[in-house]
C-alpha cells in the first residue's frame, strides 16, 4: 500500500471510529449508551490518529498504526459479535429474549469487517 493510501485510511478510519465512539458514548442512534465501550472505541480511533502524528519520513511507522489499528478494530467487532451470541443463547435457554438492534452496535460489527480486509492488505507489507 502506498503512503498516500496509508494516510487516507488513517484519516478515514480515525474519523469513522471517533464517530462510532461518540455514538456509543451518547447512545445517539442504533447503539445503546455504553460509556466504557465508547472509551475503548476512542482508543481505536486514537491508534489511527497517533499514526498520522508519525513523521512522514518514516512510512513504516504510519503503516504500523494502520496494521494494529485495523486488527484492534476487528477484535472489537468480534467482541460485539460474541456478546450478541451470548445474549441469544441466554435468551434461548431462558425462553426470554430481550433483544434490540441497538444492543449490539451494528456499526462496530460492520466496521470490523472493513478493517479486517484492510488489515489483511497492509499485513502483506510486513511479512
Amino acid at each position: 500500500m502506498s503512503i498516500k493510501g496509508i494516510n487516507s485510511w488513517l484519516w478515514i478510519l480515525g474519523i469513522l471510529y471517533s464517530l462510532m465512539a461518540l455514538n456509543t458514548l451518547t447512545g445517539f442512534t442504533y447503539a445503546e449508551q455504553d460509556i466504557i465501550f465508547g472509551l475503548v472505541l476512542c482508543v481505536s480511533a486514537g491508534i489511527y490518529f497517533f499514526g498520522l502524528r508519525e513523521s512522514i519520513e518514516k512510512p513504516q511507522r504510519r503503516a504500523a498504526h494502520l496494521l494494529i489499528g485495523t486488527i484492534f478494530s476487528s477484535l472489537l467487532g468480534l467482541f460485539k459479535f460474541l456478546i450478541l451470541l451470548g445474549s441469544l443463547l441466554s435468551g434461548y435457554l431462558e425462553q426470554d429474549f430481550h433483544f434490540s438492534v441497538d444492543s449490539f452496535n451494528l456499526s462496530v460489527i460492520i466496521g470490523s469487517v472493513i478493517t479486517l480486509v484492510i488489515h489483511l492488505r497492509i499485513r502483506k507489507q510486513f511479512t
Binding site: L39, I47, F50, A64, I83, G86, S90, L93, F126
Partner: protein, 659 residues
C-alpha cells in the same frame, strides 16, 4: 487391560536408570516446552520469562534406558543475584546431574552462549540445544552446528520445540551421549589464567572444597561472587568481573563469526511494527486497559448461557436425588449440602475457563510482557518494577502462583513487597462471587462492575505497595531488564493445555476443599434443629460476629460465608447458597440476599470486602514460606482485613447517603 498395565509396569522396572539431565537456559527460550517434549508431561508453558519458578522433575525413557529430567528456572547468569539463579546454581553444584542441556535461543544465540560458557566453566558433560530454529529461518539466520560443535567441543543440536523439527535427533543424541567424556575450558587472558592457576592450586588442597571444580571457584572469586568468596574465605581487593565478562563475549563473537550469520539490517517486520504501537508512550496503557475490559466483559457475558446450562442440569440432578432417597437428612445433605454447595461453585466453571482461554491467548501471543513493559514506568514510581508486574499478573489466575513467582525478583525488598500485595490482585477464585452477586444486583452492567473491581484491585495493589514499601523499607527497585519475547500465533493445542492446566485447579478444589467445606456448612446449617436454619450453629456463628459487621450492613449469612471463605474464596458462594436456602427455592443466593433488603451499594461493599479481606489459607501458607517471617504474614492479615473493612464501610455509608 490389567495384563497390559502389568506388562507396562514390568517394562518400566527393567529400564536402566542412566542418571539425571538438567535443562538450563535463559528465560523464555522454551525450556519447559523441551521438558514437556522429553518427558511427555504437560507443564505450564507461556511466552514470557519467569514462568518456571522452581525445578520440575519428569522422566524420559527410550528402549531400556531412562533419564530423570529436571527443568530449572530460567537464568541469564550463574551468579546468585536472585532466588531462581540461586536455585539453578545450587542444583548444579549439589545435585551434580549427569548431563546438563543448555537450551539456547536460535535468534539470540550470543546471549545464550554467555550462559553456556559459565556452565562450561563449572562442569563437563554439557550439550547445547539450539531451540526456535523455525523462528531463525524466518529471519534468515544461518547456523552451522558442525562449526559450533568444533569450536565448543560439545554436541550441538538444532531444534524447534514449537514445530518439532530436530527433536528426534536431539533425543537420540542424549541417549547416545557418553557421560564423562568431556570437560572443555575456554582460556582467558594470560594475566587472568595465571591468577586462576594460582587460586586453583590453593582450592585443590582444601578438603572442604573437594566437591567443587577448582577452576570455577577461582573464576568466581575473581568475579567477586559473594557466596563463593565466603565459601573459600578469599576476598580479593580487585574485582575482575567486567574483564571476565568482556573476554567471554569476545570469545563468543569469535566462535559465532563463522557459525552464525544474521542479516545485517534488521527488517521492520511484524514484531517491530506491533511493538511500536503496543508499547507506545500514550497508546500502550490505553490498549492494555481496553483489552482488560474486553476480557472481563466476554468472561461474564459469553459465559452466562453455559453457566445457565450447568445450573439447570445440577438443579435437575438435585431434585432427582431428593426424590430417590427416603431418609430426610441424607437426601438433604446430598441435594443441598453437596449438589447445592459444590454445584453453586461449579456453575461458574465456564466463566473461569473462558477467562483462562483469553488470558492464554494474550500470554501465548507474547502480548503480556509488553503490558509489563508499558506499566514499568508507573510501577517504578510505586517502588516496584515491571518484573513485579509479571508476578502480579499471574495473580489473576491464582495468588499462590503469583507469590511463588516473586522468586525471580532479584531485589529482596521488592520481592517481599510484591509477595505481600499479591493477594490484592483479584484471583479467579473470587470470580464466582462477583458473577453471582453482580449478575443479580447490577443486571446488564454486571460486566462493567466486574471490570471495575479488577481495576480497583490493581489500584489497591499499587497504593498498598507504596504504603508497605514506606512502612518496611525505603529502597528503590532494580530497573526491569526483560527481553520482550517474539510474537507468535498461539497454537490451539497449547491453548487447550494452558486452559485445562489452569482450570483443572478450580475443578480439583471443587472436588476437595469445597466439597468438604460444603458438607461442614451443611452440617452447621442443618443442626441442632433440622430444617430450622435460623436456629442452626451457622446462624449462631453469624449472629455472634454480626455486630462487628453491622456498620457495613452485612447480614449474618454474609458474615458466615466470609469466615468460611478464608479456606477458599469459592466457598463464599457455596456457603451463601446453603444458608439462604437458594438451592431449595431454585434461585440464586444473591437474589435471596436482594429479597432480604440488601441494596446495590451493600452488594458492592460485599464484593469489595471479598476482594480485599484476608487471603485464603493456601496463599497465607505460601506467603509465610516465601517471605520467611511471621511478621509479614501478620501484616498481610491485619492490613488486608482493615483495608477491606474501611473500603466496605465507605461504600456502605455512601449508599446510605445517596439512596
Amino acid at each position: 487391560m490389567k495384563e497390559k498395565n502389568k506388562k507396562k509396569a514390568e517394562q518400566s522396572e527393567t529400564k536402566i536408570d542412566v542418571g539425571t539431565i538438567a535443562l538450563l537456559g535463559n528465560p523464555n527460550v522454551g525450556k519447559t516446552s523441551v521438558f514437556n517434549l522429553l518427558t511427555g508431561m504437560k507443564q505450564y508453558v507461556a511466552n514470557w520469562p519467569g514462568v518456571t519458578v522452581e525445578k520440575r522433575v519428569g522422566k524420559m525413557e527410550k528402549e531400556n534406558m531412562a533419564f530423570k529430567v529436571v527443568d530449572l528456572p530460567g537464568t541469564y547468569t550463574l551468579g546468585a543475584n536472585s532466588l531462581d539463579e540461586k536455585i539453578t546454581r545450587d542444583y548444579l553444584i549439589e545435585e551434580a546431574p549427569e548431563i546438563v542441556v543448555v537450551i539456547a535461543d536460535a535468534v539470540n544465540l550470543e546471549r545464550s552462549l554467555y550462559l553456556l560458557f559459565q556452565v562450561l566453566e563449572m562442569r563437563g558433560d554439557v550439550i547445547l540445544a539450539i531451540n526456535s530454529i523455525d523462528e531463525a529461518k524466518k529471519e534468515n539466520i544461518f547456523i552451522d552446528p558442525e562449526e559450533l560443535q568444533q569450536h565448543l567441543g560439545i554436541p550441538v543440536f538444532l531444534m524447534s520445540a514449537y514445530t518439532g523439527e530436530g527433536v528426534e535427533d536431539f533425543i537420540k543424541g542424549i541417549f547416545k551421549y557418553n557421560i564423562g567424556s568431556s570437560h572443555v575450558h575456554h582460556m582467558f587472558s594470560k594475566e587472568l589464567e595465571n591468577k586462576i592457576t594460582e587460586l586453583s592450586s590453593i582450592f585443590r588442597n582444601k578438603e572442604e572444597l573437594k566437591d567443587y571444580d577448582s577452576r570455577w571457584l577461582s573464576i568466581k572469586v575473581l568475579e567477586g561472587d559473594e557466596d563463593i568468596c565466603k565459601l573459600t574465605g578469599i576476598n580479593l581487593k580487585r574485582n575482575f568481573s567486567s574483564e571476565i565478562s568482556q573476554l567471554r563475549y569476545e570469545h563468543i563473537k569469535y566462535i559465532l563469526k563463522e557459525s552464525y550469520k544474521k542479516p545485517g539490517k534488521e527488517k521492520w517486520g511484524m514484531n517491530m511494527a506491533t511493538d511500536h504501537v503496543f508499547t507506545h508512550k500514550y497508546l500502550g496503557l490505553a490498549i492494555f486497559f481496553s483489552f482488560m475490559y474486553l476480557v472481563f466483559e466476554i468472561t461474564f457475558t459469553f459465559g452466562e448461557p453455559f453457566a445457565l446450562m450447568i445450573e439447570e442440569g445440577l438443579g435437575a440432578f438435585g431434585t432427582f436425588i431428593d426424590g430417590l432417597i427416603n431418609i430426610e437428612w441424607l437426601a438433604n445433605v446430598l441435594s443441598e449440602g453437596i449438589v447445592g454447595g459444590v454445584g453453586a461453585v461449579l456453575v461458574f466453571v465456564p466463566n473461569i475457563f473462558i477467562l483462562f482461554l483469553i488470558m492464554g491467548i494474550l500470554e501465548e501471543s507474547g502480548y503480556l510482557p509488553r503490558a509489563a513493559f508499558v506499566v514499568d514506568k508507573a510501577m517504578y514510581t510505586l517502588k516496584l518494577s515491571g518484573r513485579s508486574f509479571m508476578s502480579l499478573l499471574l495473580g489473576f489466575g491464582c495468588n499462590v502462583t503469583s507469590i511463588m513467582s516473586t522468586r525471580s525478583i532479584s531485589e529482596p525488598q521488592e520481592r517481599i513487597v510484591t509477595a505481600i500485595v499479591s493477594p490484592f490482585i483479584s484471583c479467579s477464585a473470587r470470580l464466582p462471587v462477583y458473577i453471582m452477586i453482580a449478575g443479580v444486583f447490577f443486571g446488564a452492567r454486571a460486566g462493567i462492575v466486574i471490570f471495575s473491581i479488577y481495576l480497583f484491585s490493581i489500584f489497591i495493589t499499587a497504593v498498598s505497595s507504596i504504603f508497605i514499601n514506606k512502612l518496611l523499607f525505603k529502597g528503590k527497585p532494580a530497573p526491569m531488564i526483560m527481553e520482550l519475547p517474539r510474537y507468535r500465533t498461539p497454537k490451539i493445542s497449547s491453548l487447550i493445555q494452558y486452559t485445562w492446566n489452569r482450570g483443572k485447579h478450580f475443578l480439583k478444589k471443587a472436588g476437595s476443599i469445597i466439597l468438604i467445606a460444603s458438607i461442614v456448612i451443611w452440617f452447621l446449617s442443618y443442626f441442632p434443629v433440622p430444617g430450622n436454619i435460623a436456629e442452626s450453629f451457622a446462624a449462631k456463628i453469624g449472629h455472634f460476629l454480626e455486630p462487628i459487621f453491622a456498620p457495613i450492613g452485612f447480614t449474618w449469612e454474609m458474615v458466615t460465608s466470609l469466615i468460611f471463605g478464608v479456606a477458599a474464596k469459592e466457598v463464599i458462594v457455596s456457603t451463601l447458597s446453603t444458608l439462604t436456602l437458594s438451592a431449595q427455592t431454585g434461585v440464586s443466593a444473591a437474589a435471596e440476599l436482594m429479597k432480604s433488603g440488601l441494596t446495590q451499594f451493600g452488594a458492592l461493599a460485599f464484593l469489595m470486602f471479598v476482594l480485599l479481606y484476608v487471603p485464603c489459607l493456601p496463599t497465607l501458607i505460601v506467603l509465610k514460606n516465601e517471605t520467611g517471617k511471621w511478621r509479614y504474614l501478620l501484616l498481610s492479615i491485619v492490613y488486608s482485613f482493615s483495608l477491606a473493612y474501611v473500603v466496605a464501610l465507605i461504600i456502605s455509608l455512601a449508599g446510605r447517603l445517596f439512596v
